[in-house]
Amino acid sequence: MPAAAAPRTPHAPEPPSESAPQRRLYRSADGRMLGGVARGLAGHLGLPVIWVRLAFLGLLMFGDGLGVLLYAAFWVFVPLGVGGRTGHRSFFDTLDDGSRRLRKPDRGQVTALVALFAGAGIFISKVQLGGESGRYVWPTLLVGAGVVLVWRQADNARRAHWNAAAGRHGGLLQTARALAGVVLVGVGLTVFIVVRGSAAQLGNVLTATLAVLVGVALLAGPWLIRMTQDLSQERLMRIRAQERAEVAAHVHDSVLHTLTLIQRGAEDPGEVRRLARAQERELRNWLYRPEGTGKDEAEEPATLADAVKETAAEVEDHHGVPIEVVVVGDCPLDERLAAQVQAAREAMVNAAKYGGDGGPVQVYAEVEGRTVFVSVRDRGPGFDLDAVPDDRMGVRESIIGRMQRNGGTARLRSAPDGGTEVELEMERSA
């Protein structure tokens, strides 16, 4: 973005050397005469505004119009803002009346105005209006005036963001001013072409084309720059506000709700634990889940990691036993893996039911190459598969049988220091 770089060009009459690096240059929206460039610069450099204006005027008259070019460059590239010597508060005070031209001009402004007219007089008297070159001066001035009008209009549109009421108030006036600007530019360009009418045809066409192109660029360029600046800033603010509102709504709803439930059921530690765990999980999921994966859990999980986590959450909610899940790697869920997750669910339910108070159930899932490995472990008393009666089908059918039917393997073993571990292994089909 050239906004910060442009004012520091070597052509700048007063290099802002002493300014603190944090301070940004703005065009002053308050107490400006044309574009607020002089006042903004004055505030930035800590000089009286009249000095800066005189410097610009001097450059205009004696620097072959360098002042105009500089001023225009500042106007286009430096954003309008709360600059100058007026602080935040007084700036918004003056905005309340809607149009700052109603305020009485101060002595500095009167002086500057007088100086401006004097300078303009000198400038006009210096160029011969009647001569061959003088024929271009009036159209040029017309075009310049039109461009100035349109650019100020762009500033007003920006100001309207800060003060919506004032923007609506002077709608008609603004349109009229924008139209007047366009008309002025149009007339100036036409005169330009008419004046050139006597010259050779080829030169005529070329000049006309060039003039129109330059006119369009002059009119549209600043608008486009300002518009993109405004739009990106606005979008950023809106996104931020939206995010904040979303967080607030979420925290408000679910956390407060849960806290209320916890207070009501304070004498049931199991229930309190369940509620707290569920809330923690939900909040975590919401805070740390990668962006763009969709934070609503309504849809079916599409990947193994999501499926395992969701299954564990359901079992945890249902049985009130904490389940810690660690997943390494991830892959899309296919039919066989869905069966594996179902088997893991059975194992989790068993662990939650019989694992007892040995601590949380630990679930580990890993995708390595084509193999998917899931282990579910508890620290309960453990049990002997051979001792389980034949009519209890949970382990044999739901876990071992299901894995074998889908081409995987399941192993049940007792963990080294008590408890049970179920290991499920499956090859990916796709």
Binding site: R284, Y288, V326, V328, G329, Q362, P416, D417
Partner: protein
């Protein structure tokens, strides 16, 4: 980890608690700060980065329990500014990250910053005391979740590693990490792999060293990809 707590008997360790939640500091203090019972003496507390650096420099504790999210730059900033204390030849200050954060970037970030381990705040008091002593000994402390993150980080190295020795985990190290991720204690891992607890410790320390030193670019890329997936 509880099973190994025999090593803590009769020993003392001075600890500084860094966490911006006063309630949490009070809770940890109540749970582990009974010096008579646990051997842990909390010699200082801090709530932000500046305070933490001041307190740690003044008290020179053996172990700092460090929150990942802190006002003033986070745990990583504390680690950066305390780097000379960590490197001290005599009585080095060691850091154990303690956080509610689930984000892999946060966790890997503090480990790469020089923390000797990472545990979640759901850890029990006994396990936390145990971890503190382990860190004091110079060992690394991996919670199952951290082990998962590390396995993930080292698994997805499509590009050839810059340093073959550093950017890869040995088969044994992977096995050890996998068992930690599955919730095994060091003693259980030793039994499972027919090695001694000391060997398990040295494997874990090796992994930690690799994590802290290995190809930065690769891990950053991994973390970025995680956030964007």
């Amino acid at each position: 980890m509880t099973e190994d707590s025999a090593v803590t008997e009769g020993r003392r360790v001075r600890v500084v608690l860094v966490d911006d939640h006063r309630m949490f500091r009070t809770g940890v203090q109540a749970e582990i700060g009974e010096t008579e019972r646990t051997g842990v003496e909390v010699v200082g507390e801090a709530a932000d980065v500046d305070q933490a650096v001041t307190v740690i420099t003044a008290t020179r504790p053996e172990v700092v329990l460090l929150d990942v999210h802190l006002p003033g730059g986070g745990g990583v900033e504390v680690l950066r500014r305390c780097a000379p204390l960590m490197a001290a030849a005599e009585h080095p200050v060691r850091f154990l990250a303690l956080s509610v954060s689930d984000a892999a970037e946060d966790v890997i970030g503090v480990i790469r910053g020089g923390a000797r381990g990472y545990v979640t705040k759901t850890i029990t008091g006994a396990d936390l005391v145990d971890s503190v002593f382990r860190v004091q000994d110079g060992d690394a402390v991996f919670s199952p979740r951290l082990a998962g993150f590390v396995l993930d980080a080292f698994a997805s190295t499509d590009a050839p590693p810059v340093d073959e020795d550093l950017d890869r985990l040995t088969q044994r190290e992977r096995e050890v990490l996998r068992l930690i991720a599955r919730g095994y204690a060091y003693k259980e891992i030793a039994k499972q792999l027919f090695i001694s607890v000391k060997t398990v410790e040295s494997h874990v320390s090796a992994v930690l060293r690799k994590l802290q030193l290995s190809n930065r670019h690769e891990l950053t890329r991994w973390a970025t990809a995680r956030r964007l997936v």
